[in-house]
């Protein structure tokens, strides 16, 4: 088992740091899956703890200048699964991200398995300055890999692009002060509503003129779903009530300036956020509560 990668471009280092920071805001611990082509950050939470799921994937070629890995078994399972605390990784990178000349990431065996970050800093004297961080990880045995499969794209009732996250964040922060849960409702007509009902107050915020992404044939189920939605009328709302803290956490954690955030709603079951960026995608599932 071997993993070694090197980030050189300052833009890549910053972007990689932002991704890790985003993940660290969303999950205390997560699974890092390393394959020869991609890196995945995965969270599969127990239903008792909220049941949130995160699936974030990035293409290594877009970040790393050098990349070398060898899985548990080269032929059948050329992959590595590690469990780590993303905050540790984020903290190692955060302070040096402005000046680092290069960042090397290695899987090492110290007292425990570690991801060792070797960060090269500029120096005036010609002697190189290097900062080392050992982030302890645990290696997940192969028999447990099954727990970390890519979640299926849900058979959603409505798919809508979210408005500017800044506006949404303000609204959700206020609502968080009023209630523990929020109802997210949307239709195929570009309308989104956030509703809070408590003993004291009912608040509804309406967004309109949003776009509804059209799912091409590569998502077969989505497309077939769309026709049924069309059948039942574009203005019909699908809605789900979710834990408002989880929603606020998702909005607050965004550091990656996504090109688009899509919100898919399976009526009264789950909200699926799909964050699209040039070189990464992040999926966030919040189950409905009742």
């Amino acid at each position: 088992m071997k993993f070694r990668g090197k980030l050189v471009d300052i833009g890549c280092i910053q972007h990689f740091t932002r991704v890790i920071t985003t993940i660290s805001k969303l999950a205390k611990t997560c699974t890092l899956r390393i394959t020869s082509h991609k890196l995945y950050f995965i969270l599969t939470e127990q239903v008792a703890n909220g049941g949130v799921r995160i699936w974030c994937e990035l293409v290594q070629g877009n970040f790393f200048d050098e990349y070398d890995m060898e899985g548990v078994n080269k032929e059948e399972a050329n992959e590595i699964y590690l469990e780590l605390i993303p905050e540790n990784l984020a903290r190692s990178l955060r302070n040096v991200v402005q000046l680092a000349k290069s960042v090397k990431i290695k899987l090492t065996k110290k007292h425990t398995p570690c991801l060792t970050l070797e960060i090269e800093l500029p120096s005036l004297t010609g002697h190189s300055r290097i900062v080392l961080h050992d982030v302890p990880v645990s290696v997940i045995p192969r028999r447990l890999w099954g727990d970390f499969e890519e979640p299926e794209m849900p058979n959603f009732d409505v798919s809508i692009c979210l408005p500017q996250l800044k506006i949404l964040r303000n609204v959700v922060d206020r609502m968080k002060a009023m209630s523990n849960s929020v109802i997210i409702a949307a239709n195929q007509n570009g309308e989104l509503a956030l509703k809070v009902h408590t003993d004291m107050v009912n608040v509804t915020t309406h967004f309109k003129d949003l776009s509804n992404p059209s799912w091409s044939d590569e998502h077969g189920d989505g497309a077939s779903q769309k026709t049924t939605v069309m059948g039942s009328g574009k203005s019909k709302f699908a809605e789900a009530k979710v834990d408002i803290r989880r929603f606020a956490q998702f909005l607050a954690g965004q550091q990656v300036n996504p090109t688009k955030v899509i919100c898919n709603i399976v009526n009264e079951k789950v909200i699926h956020f799909f964050l699209l960026h040039d070189d990464l995608s992040l999926q966030y599932f919040i189950p409905a509560v009742y």
Partner: protein, 278 residues
């Protein structure tokens, strides 16, 4: 039809209807008296008065005069109800507390009479929010019977110079003593805490003092815990008027400048600490 303009969309008429160009104005003024969960609202043709009371000893009033609104209508002569102030402020600032320059949250506020909720409609950049806040019967408010004839001492000063004194009040002291006098030390704030006593003196000749009308020396003590919330009003105000009457009751009036050149008033009344009267 005189009433036709007061018909709401669904045909009913509102007892109270107000439109405001900037909802944050209202939120800011309400924050000045937000030291208790709920506030009683008294509406009349002149505008809205929000009242918050604590321990039957302190009362804070915020006035939103009718002219502050771009449209203000009352169907009945007066109307009153009680709302949760925390929720109301949260609703008014639903699009965030700090305004983006050039962007304003417009507000339409309506109340349909006894038993109906207070409705707010807020709009900012095409995004709308509807709020419906449950109302309760208004509390009977304390009458401090504070009239200008009985005022003994009165000082009007710029708020700036009081801000620092109030921000650094020694909270280990139970009381704040306010001394006002035609002779030295003119105006003195004192606390008596664990670490010792502090006195802050203000001369009547100071540039900060705009009016000084003291007839005789009075010295009264007020519970510091009751006065501390008035810092919120002080922080926003530009001028403050400090008055005491012959019974030692204290009136603090704050003048708060609002965006469009208008002014609003917030006032605090506080009764003196009885033990120290003898």
């Amino acid at each position: 039809m005189v009433l036709s303009t007061q018909q709401s969309d669904d045909g009913r008429s509102h007892v109270l209807l107000g439109k405001l160009d900037n909802a944050r104005t209202m939120a800011n003024i309400l924050k000045a008296i937000h030291f208790k969960e709920s506030a009683s609202v008294y509406a009349s043709e002149n505008g809205l008065k929000f009242t918050v009371e604590d321990a039957k000893c302190v009362q804070a009033n915020a006035f939103l005069q009718g002219s502050l609104f771009s449209e203000f209508k009352m169907l009945e002569e007066t109307s009153s109800f009680k709302v949760n102030l925390t929720v109301l402020i949260d609703c008014l600032t639903i699009f965030g507390t700090s305004a983006t320059p050039g962007v304003m949250t417009t507000l339409k506020l309506s109340y349909d009479g006894y038993g109906s909720p207070l409705r707010l409609m807020l709009e900012e950049m095409g995004v709308t929010t509807d709020c419906s806040i449950k109302t309760q019967d208004a509390d009977e408010s304390l009458d401090f019977d504070f009239c200008s004839e009985n005022v003994v001492n009165k000082i009007i000063m710029k708020s700036e110079c009081l801000k620092e004194a109030f921000a650094e009040l020694d909270m280990s002291s139970d009381v704040l003593e306010i001394l006002m006098s035609p002779d030295k030390p003119y105006f003195r704030l004192s606390t008596f805490g664990n670490a010792g006593s502090t006195h802050a003196d203000y001369s009547k000749e100071s540039d900060m003092v705009e009016a000084f009308e003291c007839k005789r020396t009075t010295s009264n003590r007020y519970k510091i815990a009751l006065l501390k919330p008035s810092v919120r009003a002080l922080a926003q105000s530009s001028k403050v008027s400090v008055r005491t009457d012959d019974r030692g009751f204290l009136s603090l009036q704050y003048l708060i400048q609002v965006d469009d050149g208008q002014v609003c008033f917030v006032e605090y009344y506080c009764s003196p600490d009885e033990e120290c009267d003898n």
